[in-house]
Symmetry: C2
Subunit: 415 residues, 2 copies
């Protein structure tokens, strides 16, 4: 047998129904917020991703040469492609430009529980405005998606990259040393962060005040600890988010996010039911366009881990409604088969999901198959019934069986 | 600027709306026929595609080595992945198994008008039954999809691979020479086909009768030209299809389809509006499972070229309804902004697509933006109105403006 590639998945019908339903709900909520869908290719020039994330990212992605010698990569994320599309073709659009997307992404890493080499991301970007209201709009969309899909437990943690950056700058840490310190703080690797801050010449008091800030989590009042632009900005964000009535939003000044291109507000969402790997969404305000050859443009966006979000819903007990078809058409005897197909054709045309015996099974075996595929009703087409211009209609839940006039069948079933 | 890779496309919001609408209609029709969706990875082990199509296929696809030295390929089509999934995990499912899928496929070839390196396919497979009723069910689905999406002009041509195969066998052509002859006939390259038939030892009369058969196109009556199993089978297929009332179905014994694994009925659909590159769907009955390590299983399936089908609809004049949002919320003055966000939050929660000024624009500029994004109504939130517990509601089509009580706004807009 030929196996599917390691770290990838096949999705069967039950799984696909759940996934499509979740995807549709996310898409619908984004549309309610005035965001519109875009789509970009599965692969891009590798340069797009190294510009965003640095040359080392090539180690972690599906990078290869095509037959023309071009360096291409399966996309590891969707923000860079979306911003490339914006720079190439949409930079003259009315601002703010609100876009969302959904699709596969790929990373080359050891597959482990809940982490796949092919995974799915839902994301949104609001392009063209750096204000707190734009940031709040984006966070509100992410949170409204979680509310609409029915996730019961999740938290939203909002920080500002400027708080730590300015503390480090004021303590004399240069722009070369700062990113690595921020990365260590982002991962809560405090020993290493402390060591690097010492090496950068910070004294113990300043180091501990930085560490203290990264542990600052709580309601909006904890912003009293900080001052300046970042504080004002986050106050503005929280003011707008109050309108949405979410009671699970916190300030978390330890949200750093690893990458250089974030410019201000950053946020993450967790689903505690997932345990250690609980983050289901991450985002913030950033500027990437100038890296891709466009004018500097402020944006705010997020990416939702679709697979993890679905897993969280399932761990919370989400039950998918059982699949079934409206009608199973069951011819009895050879002469009834053509009529059975005419009936199936009519029912489908009328919008009823309809299956029909194609195997020439006996009545009892067909009934069994109708149960297997969870048919709600069967239409039994026999010679006797045909001679009376009728068919037998059986309710597969109650077992009740009635005769229905052939020309009233669609209307009866549509009731 | 970083360009997208050659032969790929970005889709903007208007395009994506058309595509998602078409995809949803196809998916819905498949569900009406009792087919259920599956999904497989974007890449597979290269072997899967060489087993199906021969080693030369590697020249035409995105084949590469991953970092672990595995030969993988971006999928060039979706039947082989679907059948691999079936062999691996679904071979014990109740028969017939009816599945459909939609997604990107990839081929490495010179991009040209209407042919892309990344393209989209919608397909379906009915697994486990070789009878004419199964074949008819699959053709009926493909044709019903075209009817439901509103394609006005299309033709369905149905043939049987057995007709030509048995004529060649009876004329003494061996199993080595036959496939190449069939390929030439498939492409209507008659001179080369004649030459190869001569080389295979056929006399002129037999050669011309083969050529004659490949030009046999017409209503079901043309089947009188042939005899045997293939004729009986196609008669059975046409009998069922009559139930669906399609008046654009023909017998076309020249439909050969290039690949060896087809076992009987083959069909193609054309949209004449597309000119030379008019084929929008191809399919037939086949057996692939034994190639992939499973038991031999008869299946019937088809693939619809999604991009070409959309192009045909557009050439026929399909107009997408204009995009818009239900409401644009427009705060006038700083004190009104928080209230404006509360209103947007409420409207979105109530299921109305709502945008809101995030840029702090003036009233007149905001009105202009509301027109740009095609808002059907604007809600103007000003201090004066707020003090009266009201907002101004403006119909952007008629220009009519009324005062609405704040607590009646959602109900008024939902009317």
């Amino acid at each position: 047998m030929i196996q599917r590639p390691r770290g990838t998945r096949d999705f069967g019908p039950d799984e696909m129904e759940k996934r499509r339903r979740l995807e549709a709900t996310m898409r619908h909520e984004a549309a309610l917020f005035g965001f519109r869908e875009i789509s970009t290719p599965i692969f891009e020039h590798t340069e797009l991703f190294t510009l965003r994330s640095g040359p080392n990212v090539v180690e972690e992605i599906y990078a290869f040469q095509d037959k023309g010698g071009r360096e291409i990569s399966l996309r590891p994320e969707l923000t860079a492609p979306a911003m490339r599309f914006f720079v190439n073709e949409m930079s003259n659009s009315a601002r703010p430009l609100k876009m969302f997307y959904f699709g596969q992404c790929f990373r080359y890493e050891r597959p482990q529980s809940g982490r796949f080499r092919e995974f799915f991301q839902f994301g949104a970007e609001l392009i063209g405005n750096p204000g707190p209201e734009s940031d709040a709009e984006v966070i509100a969309l992410a949170a409204s998606i979680m509310r609409r899909i029915g996730l019961k437990q999740y938290t939203i943690r909002i920080g500002h990259i400027g708080v730590l950056r300015s503390m480090l700058a004021e303590a004399g840490v240069g722009s070369e040393a700062a990113p690595l310190i921020l990365q260590k703080l982002d991962k809560k690797e405090y020993d290493e962060a402390r060591q690097r801050m010492q090496e950068a010449g910070m004294d113990d008091a300043k180091i501990e005040s930085v560490v203290d800030i990264t542990n600052t989590v709580g309601p909006v009042e904890v912003l009293d600890k900080v001052s300046g632009e970042a504080r004002e900005h986050l106050m503005g964000v929280f003011n707008v988010l109050q309108a949405y009535g979410f009671d699970n939003i916190q300030v978390d000044l330890g949200v750093v996010r690893g990458l250089d291109y974030y410019t201000g507000m950053v946020f993450e969402m967790d689903a505690p039911v997932l345990g250690a790997e609980k983050q289901i969404c991450g985002g913030g305000s950033y500027s990437l366009t100038e890296l891709f050859g466009g004018e500097k443009t402020f944006s705010t966006g997020f990416g939702i881990g679709f697979d993890r979000t679905l897993l969280a819903l399932e761990k919370e007990g989400l039950e998918a409604p059982p699949h079934g078809v409206d009608v199973y058409v069951l011819p009895v005897g050879e002469p009834a088969r053509a009529e059975a197909h005419r009936i199936a054709a009519e029912l489908r045309q009328a919008g009823l999901s309809t299956d029909i015996d194609l195997m020439g099974r006996s009545l009892s075996k067909s009934m069994k198959h109708a149960n297997t595929i969870n048919a709600r009703r069967t239409v039994i087409v026999g010679e006797k019934e045909m001679s009376q211009g009728a068919v037998a209609l059986r309710d597969m839940i109650t077992g009740e069986q009635t005769m229905v006039k052939r020309d009233e069948l669609v209307a009866t079933l549509k009731k």
